[in-house]
């Protein structure tokens, strides 16, 4: 659950350093991931939040080496237990993928092979990394299906994916990801295709398995509700970069980046006054081929100042809060006052008029 914010001592399980992923295309080079750094410890959950095209999926596919074949230009380091996955030869990476690091994809129907039984696909995942007999692998498959809460697993193991409901397919995907008790689980929008009651079941299942197996989870989602429930730490991505990172409690209680404010203020909630208007973020996400100059968010930022179009902000620590970093050119004091205004229900324009960030505080 959402325990204390500070990072536990010791080496992180996964450490991504200044990762860049570029795809050369006919129209130009797409800067999908533009220098991101983050880390995850065993037993902890990192939530990566962002909109479509923010680079959140590409960064995790790259961790598994799945962008190599698409002609991606990759630089930076991805240290998993001290080993750099960026430079690791393909056959060694394959030994890690599906064994120590596993991934759950968004769409369970297209991620399962329709012509093989669920059991056969599960045993394949086991036997790819473990030297066990067919019978033993089958036993393991049944055990895994039971573990993820599929009723009557000994019978279900011989069924095909189309005989499973959406929720059961996603459970089967999770079972497959857990087949070899991975140390790191990457879940890319694991519940987006599911109904809320099934989503709640799947998220509870992931939390339970994390407690039992002690794995680290990276959950990628656009749903702020899902990260709030699952993550210990959150990284907010915009246009290929991390613009803010902090503990989950901190991101929701004292966010620092205008984009994070925009996300929080643009979702309707189940509680709170219903008449309150939403404050959408104006405009649309930028092109990753020719991103805006200076701060990439400046064309959509209500608080933009003239020099923000020139200067490219770096992630800076926020006050004395450990682990909280933000890439924003506004003065810390101005940011704090702006968020106070927004928190009190003011519109961005009203907040701006109140605080006037251009003038010295």
């Amino acid at each position: 659950m959402n325990a204390a914010a500070s990072s536990p001592p010791g080496e992180p399980l996964l450490r991504v350093e200044d990762l860049r992923v570029e795809f050369p295309t006919e129209d130009g080079v797409v800067h999908a991931v533009d220098g991101i750094t983050y880390q995850v410890h065993s037993g902890r959950t990192l939530g990566i939040v962002g909109e479509s095209g923010s680079g959140k999926t590409v960064s995790s596919l790259t961790t598994l080496g799945l962008t190599r074949r698409q002609g991606a230009r990759i630089s930076g380091r991805i240290l998993f237990e001290g080993q750099d996955l960026v430079t690791l030869p393909e056959d060694e990476l394959r030994a890690i993928r599906g064994d120590d690091i596993a991934m759950i994809f968004q769409d369970p129907l297209s991620s399962l092979h329709p012509l093989y039984t669920v059991g056969r696909q599960l045993t394949e995942a086991v036997r790819a990394h473990r030297d066990v007999s067919r019978a033993q692998a089958r036993e393991r498959a049944i055990e895994l299906l039971g573990l993820v809460g599929i009723p009557d697993p000994a019978r279900r193991v011989d069924e095909y994916p189309h005989e499973f409901s959406g929720g059961m397919r996603q459970r089967a995907m999770i079972a497959m990801a857990l087949a070899n008790e991975p140390k790191l689980l990457i879940a890319d929008e694991p519940t987006t295709a599911l109904d809320v009651t099934v989503q709640a079941q799947i998220l509870a299942l992931m939390e339970r398995l994390q407690r039992e197996l002690g794995m680290a989870i990276v959950i990628i989602t656009h749903d702020l509700g899902v990260v709030a429930e699952m993550a210990d730490d959150i990284a907010v991505m915009y246009a290929g970069r991390i613009v803010e990172t902090a503990s989950a409690a901190r991101v929701f209680a004292a966010p620092e980046h205008p984009y994070t404010w925009g996300l929080l203020k643009s979702i309707p909630t189940l509680y709170g006054p219903r008449e309150e208007d939403l404050f959408p973020i104006p405009g649309t996400p930028p092109s990753l081929i020719s991103p805006p100059s200076g701060c990439h968010f400046h064309p959509r930022c209500p608080y933009v100042q003239p020099d923000h179009t020139r200067i490219d902000p770096q992630l800076q620590p926020v006050g004395d809060e450990p682990g909280h970093h933000v890439a924003c050119l506004l003065e810390p004091d101005v940011r704090r006052r702006l968020w106070e205004q927004l928190g009190a229900g003011r519109t961005p324009e009203e907040a701006l008029a109140e605080v006037s960030p251009g003038a010295p505080a």
Binding site: S165, V196, V227, S266
Partner: protein, 354 residues
């Protein structure tokens, strides 16, 4: 049907309580057949199975429920895109359930739809001007070219598009702008009823808010009557005056927004609300009671109350006798023999409860 001569003056206030649409015992069964040449009916998917509701002028009615609960089928029946197996749809006092030909066309003019996917619901080979103007072409209105163009540009302005983009193609617009094109097209004929089927679920959060604000603004300015179908309970709470919760082809609870969200009486409504992830880690202390299992097949729904197979409160009576929609004294109509109490609502972890 007064449809033919109907025109603009829709903005003026209509008294509350004036019913525009009255649906009684609406049923839609899709046959399951076996055989190719000699087809034999071996069963039916009971997608909508006895839905009754009223839509008042000027209100927004939300329909929520999970995949396969029949919410989109209900919308298609209201649009007359599907023919009902049974029951009745009254539109302004006229039964439109089985009208055909010119009279059906007149109904279609009064009921317009906004679709889920702003990418596949716009013809990529047509300009925005001709997409928004197409309803006029179909219904042979505004036949003078300059007049039609002026009207389309006025609509574009209403939904926040630049009228100068009249001759652009859909691919030149972003997802949120495309959804605005869909809204403008739906508003073109000044419909009496607007049906929005998951209008924002394909959009990114920041864009979703733009479209929700637009729809809410149009509701207020034009006094629209809207049926708003969505699976996102937070969005429905934000947008709707009244909400109907569907489960396996039936309405299990219906009532005013506040009453339903603050004191859900049906165990299914409670479970849905408890399952919504809340974007606030400080609210996560208490454990939630989660539903187990999956929705049963609508081809073979459970006897009695359809929810009894998953209901934590089920009693023997629930599997034999179907509960009617009744007022249980908290403002909503609920189809349950043993509705939730205040204590139980708190216990299952409904975050919108009082």
């Amino acid at each position: 049907m007064s449809a033919a001569g109907q025109d603009a003056a829709r903005g003026d206030e209509t008294p509350p309580g004036d019913v525009l649409v009255r649906v009684r015992d609406l049923v839609k069964h899709f046959p399951i057949t076996r055989g190719i040449v000699f087809q034999k009916k071996i069963g039916a998917v009971r997608a909508v199975d006895g839905v009754s509701l009223e839509i008042e002028r000027g209100e927004t009615l939300g329909i929520v429920g999970e995949t396969g609960c029949g919410k989109s089928t209900t919308a298609k029946l209201l649009m007359r895109l599907l023919d009902a197996t049974g029951g009745e749809i009254d539109f302004e006092g006229t039964d439109i359930t089985r009208v055909k030909g010119a009279r059906l066309k007149a109904v279609r003019r009064e009921v317009q739809m906004i679709f889920q996917d702003p990418y596949s619901s716009l013809n990529p080979r047509k300009t925005v001007g001709s997409i928004i103007g197409e309803p006029f072409a179909i219904h042979r209105l505004m036949r003078e070219k300059g007049e039609r163009k002026r009207e389309v540009q006025r609509l574009m302005e209403t939904v926040g598009l630049n009228p100068e983009h009249y001759n652009r193609y859909p691919h030149e617009f972003s997802g949120g702008q495309r959804q605005r094109i869909g809204v403008a097209r739906a508003l073109a004929l000044n419909p009496k009823l607007l049906i929005a089927d998951e209008p924002v679920s394909a959009l990114d959060v920041s864009i979703q808010a733009q479209v929700l604000n637009l729809l809410r603004d149009l509701q207020r300015r034009l006094g629209l009557t809207v049926v708003f179908i969505a699976h996102d309970l937070s969005v429905v709470r934000h947008m709707c005056d009244r909400v109907a919760v569907m489960y396996l082809g039936k309405i299990v609870e219906i009532g005013p927004n506040e009453a339903l969200y603050e004191f859900p009486r049906h165990p299914y409504t409670g479970a849905l609300l408890a399952a919504v992830p809340v974007a606030d880690p400080s609210l996560h202390g208490s454990a939630r009671r989660l539903l187990s299992g999956d929705v049963p097949s609508p081809a073979n729904p459970p006897s009695g109350c359809r929810f009894h197979t998953r209901c934590p409160k089920a009693q023997p009576l629930c599997s034999t006798q179907e509960p009617p929609l009744q007022d249980k004294g908290s403002g909503t109509l609920v189809a349950c023999h043993y509705p939730l109490s205040h204590e139980e609502v708190a216990e299952i972890g409904v975050r919108s409860a009082r």
